[in-house]
Assembly symmetry: C2
């Protein structure tokens, strides 16, 4: 990694945690450069303006999330070959991952961006939308595979089910932040898992 990239990453790290804690507009450039020990001109060498920073932050965040999810469900797929069980294992692994974060999930940039719509330009808003559509796509495929093998016990659409996964996580971030109880995230993921089980798993016997 070149030196410039390293600095850029550091600036983004500082910015990201500030954005998640205070919001984008309360995150001042002066504050970022003070913490990064760099000059203002140095900052603008890397990002032509604040919006470009916003975009870079979102792109990096979405990229990382995707890698994490790919990884997680690949691990799950190594442990089983039934689509339903793969998904249930994947959710369990995800819950474990969240349980290992003592301070809980740091927050989702997608959520902060959607609540600050009027702050960003059209491109960033669209990027944000695509990120969520991407999640929908990912989980839709998984649920389609499950539906193909197990008839659901209720009339539900795969898209809505797919959204339910993202929905649970986004909601749980808000809840656990507001309550200061990281545990909420784990509980909610396990409740989602409970639903998937009840919805698809054949009654024993």
């Amino acid at each position: 990694m070149r030196k410039g990239e390293k600095t850029r990453e550091r600036l983004m790290d500082i910015a990201e945690s500030s954005v998640l804690a205070k919001g984008f507009s309360a995150t001042s450039i002066d504050e970022i450069i003070a913490e990064a020990e760099i000059t203002k001109s140095g900052f603008f060498y890397h990002f032509k303006d604040k919006n470009e920073l916003a975009q870079a932050l979102l792109e990096r965040y979405v990229e990382r999330e995707n890698v994490l999810l790919d990884d997680l469900f690949k691990k799950a797929a190594d442990l089983h070959d039934d689509p339903l069980h793969i998904f249930l294992i994947g959710l369990k692994l995800f819950a474990d991952l969240m349980a290992d974060m003592p301070k809980g999930h740091p927050g989702c940039l997608v959520a902060t961006y959607c609540y600050h719509e009027r702050l960003y330009d059209a491109k960033v808003i669209e990027l944000n939308r695509q990120a969520v559509l991407n999640w929908r796509n990912r989980f839709s495929k998984a649920f389609q595979d499950i539906c193909d093998r197990y008839p659901p016990r209720d009339d539900v659409s795969v898209e809505a089910l797919a959204d339910m996964v993202s929905n649970t996580v986004e909601g749980a971030i808000v809840m656990s932040k507001a309550l200061k109880e990281p545990k909420v995230m784990v509980d909610q993921i396990l409740l989602l898992r409970s639903y998937i089980k009840l919805l698809f798993q054949p009654v024993p016997g």
Copy 2:
């Protein structure tokens, strides 16, 4: 209502919609007073500073939400006297309410506040926490009543179930905002309803 209260309400209306669209710190007092056609001094007559505005906004929001929920579940209770069915009807009524909002839910102040923790003073943060605890309490009672009559088909806690209601709504606000699809909210509430049904409803026959 005195004239001052009317002005105060108007200021809060403008502020609230701006906070939900841009976040608190991007909501400038100059902008609020311009839209309200009042001077800056006029604004500070009503709120001693921005934090007091934040607190007033949250208090009013939580109050209104509680009235709405009281109303909704009272209506549901008028239509049935079984706790499970009351809850299922309540969720359906809530879904209908959301479906009637053409632009979707305007956004939840509790969610924006929890993502901007570092902006508010301790009192406001605690108020926010109490609001969520209040929801937990409300729904916990409902689920306890249901559990007393119907044994759940999975090992779940009433608190986690209660949180799932708020969780679903908070998550759905984020999802529908990011996707620009208000329909997501309705779908997610109905999925929650589906879960409650599968979890508690006895198998027919």
